[in-house]
């Protein structure tokens, strides 16, 4: 692949399945007079490919259960993928042993959604922030550790005097600042932020978003931003991938995607956003429910809810094809120009 040089992270044909069938006894089913063993798989990611360039904010959006968090976690190596390749700076990550993965861990960090759950309640802020530093830099002495923690706390807008406090003494916004500090303290290049602001109040959300944008500018960070709040995504990202049932259905430059969505699911998703101006866009209303990722629909995963679906959509899985304006769309209807 020629664009390997510019992209910091690339994901190719990633598949992730979760086995939820339980133990052997749970797997045994009795039907038609015979015992058989059945394995139930949740097909969380299906053939996901994307490229994230150095310094950009790449957002993944979609409704709950579409696999966006799984994607972030699989990239981080928290879940092993079933197949597919993950490259960071040209190095293949998905087959590394935990030990071999270690040097990459300090270059890739993660910020989690719930700042109440992601900080250890029994550790002081100092302990929480020093732990990753000590781990990745065993040679650092106490003074250096203290200086680094202080520096990073100042950067996230917290008071370095608070290092002796416990997480319960902080509000949600302050905790999220500390989680961000924990990610920044090892000086990463790439951060996966999994819904970092959805647990916070509006005025605090703005503070944290500004903080993330400032940190990106100062440290030339690359973000993979996982979110369901589309107006936030529109504001901060350079590129957006829209996911539905573990599949990327549209991937484009933010401006292009929000101004002129092409994939029917993107259209439906965008027109469902409540807007401050109170204007209702001519909404592409969806009918039906999101199917379960255990039994994926045949063909295009969206065909059951798509107003443009035809027999080809039911039979054949659409490929993610690059169009002349650079966006990628996986839709037969767009390809055949049945939409507009």
């Amino acid at each position: 692949m020629s664009n390997n040089e510019q992209s910091l992270l690339s994901v190719r044909n990633l598949y992730k399945r979760f086995d939820i069938s339980g133990g052997l006894l749970d797997q045994i089913k009795f039907s038609g007079g015979k015992f058989s063993r059945e394995i139930t798989l949740v097909k969380a990611l299906n053939n996901v490919s994307l490229e994230i360039k150095q310094g950009e904010t790449f957002s993944v959006v979609g409704e709950s259960g579409c696999g966006k968090s799984t994607l972030g976690r699989t990239i981080m190596g928290l879940y092993p993928p079933n197949s597919g390749e993950i490259y960071f700076n040209g190095d293949r990550l998905d087959q590394l042993s935990p030990k071999e993965m270690l040097p990459y861990r300090s270059r890739m960090q993660m910020v989690f959604q719930d700042p109440y759950a992601s900080l250890n309640p029994r550790k002081t802020i100092k302990q929480t922030l020093e732990e990753p530093l000590k781990y990745h830099n065993p040679q650092m002495n106490a003074g250096e550790l203290r200086d680094r923690v202080e520096e990073v706390l100042l950067q996230v807008g917290s008071d370095p005097k608070w290092v002796t406090r416990m997480p319960h003494e902080f509000s949600g916004g302050q905790r999220q600042r500390i989680s961000i500090a924990r990610a920044l303290v090892v000086d990463p290049e790439f951060i996966v932020a999994d819904e970092p602001i959805s647990a916070l109040d509006v005025s605090i959300q703005a503070q944290i978003l500004n903080l993330l944008m400032d940190a990106q500018e100062q440290r030339n960070l690359t973000y993979l931003f996982v979110a369901h709040d589309l107006s936030v995504v529109e504001h901060i990202s350079t590129n957006v991938a829209v996911m539905y049932l573990g599949t990327v259905c549209e991937l484009a430059d933010t401006k292009l995607l929000f101004e002129d969505p092409k994939h029917p699911y993107t259209m439906a998703l965008l027109s469902a956003i409540p807007r401050l101006d109170g204007k209702k866009s001519e909404r592409l209303k969806l009918t039906g429910e999101v199917p379960t990722p255990i039994n994926l629909p045949t063909g295009c995963v969206f065909h059951g809810r798509c107003p443009y679906a035809n027999s080809r959509c039911i039979a054949e899985i659409p490929e993610l094809k690059t169009h002349s304006d650079g966006r990628k769309i996986a839709c037969h209807a767009v390809e055949e120009e049945r939409i507009r």
Binding site: S203, A272, I273, P274, R275, L276, K285
Partner: protein, 329 residues
Amino acid sequence: MSSLLEVKDLVIKFGLRTGDVTATTGVSFTIEKGEKLGLVGESGAGKSVTGFSIIVLISKPGYVADGHILFKGTDLTKISSEEMRNIRGNRISMIFQDPMMTLNPVLTIGTQMTETLLAHNPKMSMKEASEIALEKLRKVHIPSPEKRLEQYPHEFSGGMRQRIIIAIALITDPEIIIADEPTTALDVTIQAEIMDLISELCETEDMGFILITHDLAVVASVTENIAVMYAGRIVEKGRTRDVIDNPQHPYTKGLIKALPEGAKGSNRLNQIKGMMPTLTNIPDGCAFNPRCPYVMDICKTDEPSLIQVKGMDTQAACFLCKEEVFTNE
């Protein structure tokens, strides 16, 4: 002719060992038939407790310390709990946030729906009740309702459960529905469906609707009137369009500009510095003064009351609106 619901100078306190904590102060609003009101604020602003107080459902140690809640002229704070039981869930219904938590997992949908009806109409037969339940399920657009009545909550998706909760709230043909963050736990496409459904029902059934939420955009797309709460006080109220297009109180202004959509092209979002004070620690004067970019001396000593903004339908609790120093930049 009295309003459908009138809340007057409501003061809610929580009696703690260390002394009373005031959760809301001087909250007043009215709602008419078919009107949709949005009660907006961040967590801890007192919006939910206001909603709960209307159906007299604040649990101890909380209590209504002062003020009146007039439902068609009857003061709900003064009637007996017997009489209140007749109104709560019958003439005023409530929809809660989490559709996973509000349904009983071990009872069928049918049982849960008819239970409400039978409780309020002991003479009603089971058959009649089931028929009404079916009719309401149809009204909230649930496909094949006959089959659905026999099912348990775990067999429904989040959006479907919220529809069922709306159907339960509607079952006694209430005159007011209070919804506390009804779509916060749902996805945007489902949220859009549920909000459309609620708007449609308010129109067809001529109900009053109070939407309690933190999401200004949802309020903008659903309600006609809005009241913005901060630290237990209403800081601004008026017509939704007026308040959102032309906010008067610095808090409302800040809140709108903190949204990516309200930031209008600028890269940085406006942030309101600091955070909402805890209820035990509300500053003197205007509760917003430590965070306000336009703070004056008077704000630190005197508490502003809601006043009519000149030339507008909006009321705001800010000295700047009175002094007319506050120009729209």
